[in-house]
Subunit: 439 residues, 2 copies
């Protein structure tokens, strides 16, 4: 059993704060979180959290972990050019080992910035499962696919199911597997429809990119006479548990569908702004009571994996666009960045500090200059803390980082491996550049 | 002499990068910055900057330092309510000692997040000068004033001039003093006009809040038939070196005036969004070639003092609002957050790593997970680094922080003092709350 003492606890049950509180962890679960109680027996470890804030860890509900490999290689260009000219040609050449180390690098950064649950949406999902399993983080691994010439939809989905059968509910349910059709502009209508059928059969969550750019929605409408969201609704796709990332360009009708079909929306404001896709309509999401959670998107479009940064930006957009500073209180913002993310990814009992919930806990240093005075701990986390103020990270009752030291991943080894890998990527990049100059 | 070796140097001369470079500092000045040269004599200290990026420090061109005292006491409410019901009543009771320690707390956070130059705009400017002098940071201290019943404009300006005469060009020019009329809605037209006259006489920089909210501009126009910027232009106010913060609500004519009169604009995007004032029109600033720099505003409206956060947000707004990801390249963004800030505040030869420039340098840890791979160092600083990745801070040739240890301020002492002060502020706050309940 682990006992955390003297903590300022944000339980995320409303705006509750417990000062000088205690959290008792048994195996993977919180046995008690509240005011100091009494003497406990069988405590293996005591963590003194004086001058620290304890709260549920951040949830990154949309990202592409191994894209850390391509961090910063192509900034300040539009999404389609970025994808077609730079990212896709490099991804074509990535090996399983590349992806393994790129994923681990992402998990290191995630732990260091207080994330306890990640989504993934990339190639080689079995590699992602291996890395995630070793790291100790909680995760939903999307088996990513798109339509391919010469490969039948049936075969694509059979392969996806294989991964699902092998890795879903791995490690005490810490890792789950979802179906991840890339997007309506890369998947045929049949593949999307059949994805819905398979997900119902498996009870699988679906991850998908929806309505990220205006152009993709306009093109779809012109071609099919309805928006992607309208089409998916018409074929029962949303009868499943679906988490849709982006949803930047949504009509009132699209919003009503998302609301009525309880579709989770993973908003990635930093990626949307940086790629010039648009400003996500956070105020509309809120008006329609959508289940909004936070995603960082991949490190090559963001360019980091701090959920805190995107959470803060989401709040600033909600307040700034509507010119209503009362939009989203600090406790509500923290709920969006934790509990709502877990729910959207298909995890139950994650995202609150409460008896029976999973012990996914971050302990934040509240003694730093930027956290003083300690007026209002929800506000300090929402608006003042820096991503690296997290000292200790616990997931599923296991300590992954203690006082900024990682305990599950050999950080230096991974960094050096990624640097090696990057030499190969640089060569590919230069080759591509040369080719495009010759064209 | 200090020698920095093995650094990845961003000189901020265009997009120049020098790998494995050296910087030689003599007294307050850079004597050499470039590729490794030869053996130097009389070097007192060598800093090995392997795996680090060296660049000019960030410049916070608009803030209210001691407002750290009120961090997080009133979030998620509109600007005027925030000012009138919470901030002003507390400020009425603040002592010089309160402001001294609040200012030092702000300077600690500034150094820790890589800021080498700050502006200030608050009460008790002599106290700010003392704190700034001790800290070693470079700063422009605004002598803040507004019209007051029973106090003549003449007396207000005489007092401002006293402070100017006493502290301007203090500490080898590291500290300069500016005139800081609060805003057109708190200063009479005569006081503003006479400020312009006095500034011309003294050769002083003017700091002022302009066009922060739509309402203040509409009210002014209704009352006076012209916008504040139009009025100030008509009385020659802009014949001085002026830095105007905010400028969120500006017409094409206002923009033309700011452009033609070379007014510096300190943009505070996080504060503007968080208070619901609006989205600063960064794209229009750029189209008019305005001298835009970054401000964090006070810690009670932001709620932290990281220039990096506001710089990143400014870039995201520029790209997202226009849906043009090519708006503001990474090297240009860094120039805005460094050199342009210094120029706007009235400092010459600050903000580049080049012979003859002031040795205001930050050394950033580029070995962290979020900084790998090390593709493009401008991009890493602009989009990937976290505020606390700064290891070492040098201002005017003096080391203020080395490997995250502060060398000029007793950090624990200041934090404890602010915590003490805050008990008093909390009592005031509760009293105010009680009063307003009784009303």
């Amino acid at each position: 059993m682990i006992l955390i003492k003297n903590a300022t606890i944000l339980t995320l049950l409303g705006d509750e704060v417990i000062y000088g509180g205690e959290i008792l962890i048994q195996d993977s679960t919180i046995q008690y979180a509240g005011p100091p109680k009494s003497v406990y027996e069988n405590v293996d470890m005591v963590i003194d959290a004086s001058n620290h804030i304890a709260m549920p860890g951040f949830v990154n509900s949309h990202t592409h972990l191994a894209m850390t490999l391509m961090r910063g290689i192509a900034d300040d260009i539009p999404l389609q050019k970025w994808l077609n000219d730079i990212i896709f040609p490099i991804e074509d050449k990535l090996t399983e080992e590349d992806v393994y180390f790129g994923t681990l690098l992402a998990l290191i950064e995630s732990i260091r910035t207080g994330t306890t649950t990640v989504s993934d949406f990339y190639m080689f999902p079995h590699v992602s499962a291996k890395a995630l399993g070793e790291s100790g983080l909680r995760g939903n691994i999307g088996v990513a696919y798109a339509s391919k010439p010469l490969v039948s939809d049936k075969l694509i989905l059979e392969r996806a199911q294989e991964i699902f059968d092998k890795f879903n509910e791995m490690d005490n349910g810490r890792i789950i597997v979802s179906l991840a059709p890339h997007a309506p502009y890369t998947c045929s209508q049949n593949l999307l429809k059949e994805t819905g059928v398979l997900a119902r059969k498996l009870g699988a969550v679906i991850q998908i990119h929806l309505h990220e750019t205006e152009k993709e929605v306009l093109d779809y409408k012109e071609h099919y006479g309805q928006t992607p969201i309208e089409y998916l609704d018409s074929v029962g796709f949303f009868d499943n548990k679906v988490i849709a990332s982006h949803c930047v360009w949504v009509s009132e009708n699209d919003l009503r569908i998302l609301e009525n079909r309880h579709v989770g929306v993973a908003s990635n404001p930093q990626s949307n702004l940086k790629l010039g896709s648009g400003i996500p309509p956070i105020d509309k999401f809120l008006k329609h009571n959508l289940a909004v959670s936070i995603g960082t998107d991949g490190a090559s479009s963001n360019n980091n994996l701090s959920v805190l940064e995107d959470m803060r930006l989401l709040s600033l957009i909600a307040k700034g666009v509507t010119r209503n500073p009362e939009n989203i209180s600090a406790p509500e913002l923290l709920r969006i960045a934790t509990l709502q993310g877990s729910l959207n990814l298909g995890f139950e009992n994650v995202g609150r500090l409460k008896e029976g919930y999973k012990a996914d806990i971050i302990i934040i240093d509240a003694s730093k200059a930027n956290m003083i005075p300690s007026t209002n701990p929800h506000s300090l986390v929402a608006y003042s803390m820096y991503p690296e103020d997290v000292d200790t990270v616990i997931v599923d009752g296991k300590i992954l980082m203690k006082d900024r030291i990682l305990l599950t991943i050999d950080e230096e080894f991974v960094k050096n491996k990624v640097k090696e890998k990057f030499i190969k990527i640089s060569k590919l990049l230069n080759k591509n550049k040369k080719n495009s100059t010759l064209d």
